[in-house]
Each structure stands twice: as structure tokens, then as C-alpha cells.
Amino acid sequence: MPTGNPPAKPGADLPDHPSFLWRNPEPASSYDVVIVGGGGHGLATAYYLAAVHGITNVAVLEKGWLAGGNMARNTTIIRSNYLWDESSGIYEHALKLWEGLEAELDYPILFDQRGVLNLAHSLQDVRDSVRRVNANRLNGIDAEWLEADAVKEICPIINVSPDVRYPVLGATYQPRAGIAKHDYVAWGYASAADRLGVDLIQNCEVTGIETSDGRVTGVNTTRGRIAAGKVALCASGHSSELAAMAGVELPVQSHPLQALVTELLEPVHPTVVMSNAVHVYVSQAHKGELVMGAGIDSYNGYGQRGSFHIIERQMSAALELFPIFARAHLLRTWAGIVDVSPDASPIIGLTPVDGLYLNCGWGTGGFKATPGVGDCFAHTIANDKPHPYNEPFTLERFTTGALVDEHGAAAVAH
């Protein structure tokens, strides 16, 4: 019988950040690689380019402040229990890197493997869950199917009564899954990349991508033109706009995705609980606040705000699952912009433009993939050839029909 990790100690003081993080250099006139987007993916890609491939003449261009987009807005859930081989491949690669990341970056990223429960509320949920657990195990990923009473053992505050509107019929459980502290992760990558010579350039918005004879030559920015041997896009919700600058169209749509936190609370929630059926994704963060993700707003939006009725609906759902949350207070809501692809899987790899590389379409899966995609994308850029883990995630799959459809079993896959 699996047992939950003892509750991490929310309320313990967070570790201090180091007294130096990064330089704030002026952009140089030219770089070997320009990474557009200073979020988690952009920073990780820069780090692995420098650390693994020795490519250090690299700039990360960020239109606002580093890691201020989805990296600052997500619910920090990390797991690799995806249905299809292709997905579990890259997410499990990421999870393995997460497991060594604190040491690698020499930064306290607070990766806490407290496990993730994905609840099933209908008979079809149960079938899908068992299918996913079995697929995970055959792929070497830790996964278990738990009946309702075992769910209760892992997370005692879940209401597993059969009398509720949509009873908990069981859950999948990935013990190695968990959460990390997003700013710490981003800053860990940023400062490590900075130490290796990568220029992190903030308040620098890319306004154009220059190409010549089908090859990328540089970018125009609000801080002037920057020549580039290679340009790599890591701009999540803004990918469509950037790719269009190079004449590349993407099958992604940008949608608002909301999240919220409560006041700081004494430990009540020892793990991470996700329920796609009722759109509840909740953990208790290191400081003690409950962090919850909501469903995606249905319409396209770049406003970094969503509709409040989605939050209200989510509250109702959360209370069905966790009656103890009734007295918790919503303290702050916000939204990110997620780029959603037709099959709910990312698009990573080469583009029709030489030297232009694409990493987008992560939807809600971006944070958990950060080390994996950073490593694989850096490999792709360095070798001008996809890493085996991202090979299935081409743009061409939409033409051939070889989709990696994670809708069915992953739904809104925070």
C-alpha cells in the first residue's frame, strides 16, 4: 500500500536567493544563437546550450522581465504520467532531470516529490486512468491505480464518499511527481546561464525576424537589431506572432488560463491533486498557500486575465472534493496565456526557415517539461537536428496525421 510523503513543511521559510543573480548587459550586435523568450524554456535552453554544447555566445531576449510570463503564473505541477509513448518520453526525460536539477544548477529549486493524484469520477475516467497507468508502467514510469480508500490514505482531506455528485472512483498516482518553486527554477537557470556567459536581455521585444535566402540572419528588437546565426523561439502564447514574422504559420491558439492562491495555511494538503473532470488542480505550496489552477477559457485571448465565472465554478468543484477548503480564502487570481495545439501536444523542432527553431504549443504542460525541453531543444539547435525525444513533435505531423493526441487522457493537463 503506497503511503504519502509526510507533508512538506509549508510555512518553513523559503531559502534565500543568492546575493547575485545575473548581469544586465547591453545587447551585443551579434550572437551565435538568439533565444526569443526569457521564460523557463528559453532560460533552460540557453543553459543547456552553454553547459552541454559549449555554445555560450547566446542571448536570451525577453520583452518584459525574466520568467514573467507563464513561468510566473503556473501551478508548478511536475509529473510525467502521460498516455502516449512520445509524451511520456519527453516528460519522463524532464522528470529525471528535475531529480538532479538542484545539484546541477546549485540552486534551491524546492523540487518536492510529494506525488500527484489524478482523480477518476466516471467509469470512463477509470478506464482511461487504468490505461494510462499501465502504459506508464510499461514505459518505466512509476504509476499506480488507487481505489478510493487508498486515495484517502494519501490525501486524507479528499472527500471519497460515494454520495457526492461525482464520487471519487479512484485515482492514478505518480509518487515521483510533485512541485517545485517556479521563480527559483527560472532564476536557477538564469543565473547558471549568466555565469556561463549567456546574455540575458530584458525589456527587449522582438519586432521582426530577418531572413535571407531562406535562412535566418537576425532579429529586430526594441533595443535595436541583433544579428543571429540561429534564432530559437520559446515564447509560448506569443509564438504565433513571432513565427509569423518569419513567415511560418503555426497551428496553435492562445488562450487565457487562470490560477489562484489562498492565504497561508497550516499544512493540510500533503500531495498534488488533479481532477480533469471537474477542473481542479491543487497543491499546497511551500509557503503554505493553496495553489489552484482552473480550466482554460474557451476563447482566444492575450489579456492575461480570464473570466471569473471559471474561478467560481472551480471553487464549487474544489469544495465537493475538499470540504475543508470552504473556509479558505481566495487571495489573488491571475492568468497566463497558453498556446494550445490541435492535439494538446507541443511542437518542437526545425522550421521551413533554416536556422529558425520552434518550441511552442505546450498548452498547460510547459512548466513540468522545462528541463527536458531545454535539454532537447538545445540539442536540436546545436545539431540542427531534433533530439530523439522531440522528434515526434514536428510541425509536419499535422499534415501526415501522426498526431500525439493527449486530449483523451490528459485533458487540461496542468
Partner: protein
């Protein structure tokens, strides 16, 4: 809770509506004549602008009519709604 002005029923809360993505993307006259690339473009590729976007909505909880709207995806402000048999109006 945004209001969406249904061309028939007037402004109603967004929960009464279903979003239908980009407008003015017609089903190809002869799908069989399209290459795989062209077909993929129709099936999977839609514009995703930051700014005014002509898109489709259906008033599912109301009159069940589909209509088009020009909405700014930054501010979510609806610049115009128009019936399917109307041209996209000029908006600023």
C-alpha cells in the same frame, strides 16, 4: 463575465455562448482536390492574432444562432458583431 451582443438577443453573458474560432474559413469546395498540406491547413491552422480577430460565436443557451464578431484579443473588447450573411464591418 463578459457581455457578448448577440445580433438577435442583444448583450448576454458569455456563458450563454459557444466559441467557434476564426471566422471566414470556408469548408473547401472540393476537399478531394486538395493536397495533404492544403487539407491540413484547413483542418488545423487558424489565425491567432494579438489584436482584432474576426471569429465565430454561437448563442447556444439562447437563440442557437451562429454569428461573427470582431473582438480584440488583447482587451477582449468586441468591436462589432455581424450576421453570417454580412460582410466583416470595418472596425478601428
Amino acid at each position: 463575465m463578459q457581455l457578448i451582443p448577440c445580433p438577435w438577443c442583444g448583450p448576454r453573458e458569455e456563458v450563454e455562448f459557444h466559441y467557434g474560432g476564426q471566422a471566414h474559413v470556408s469548408y473547401p469546395a472540393d476537399p478531394a482536390a486538395l493536397s495533404d498540406e492544403e487539407w491540413a491547413r484547413f483542418v488545423f491552422f487558424r489565425d491567432n492574432p494579438r489584436g482584432p480577430f474576426a471569429e465565430r460565436w454561437s448563442h447556444t443557451a439562447g437563440c442557437r444562432r451562429w454569428f461573427n464578431a470582431v473582438r480584440d484579443t488583447r482587451s477582449y473588447e468586441l468591436h462589432a458583431v455581424y450576421r453570417l450573411d454580412e460582410e466583416r464591418p470595418v472596425t478601428t
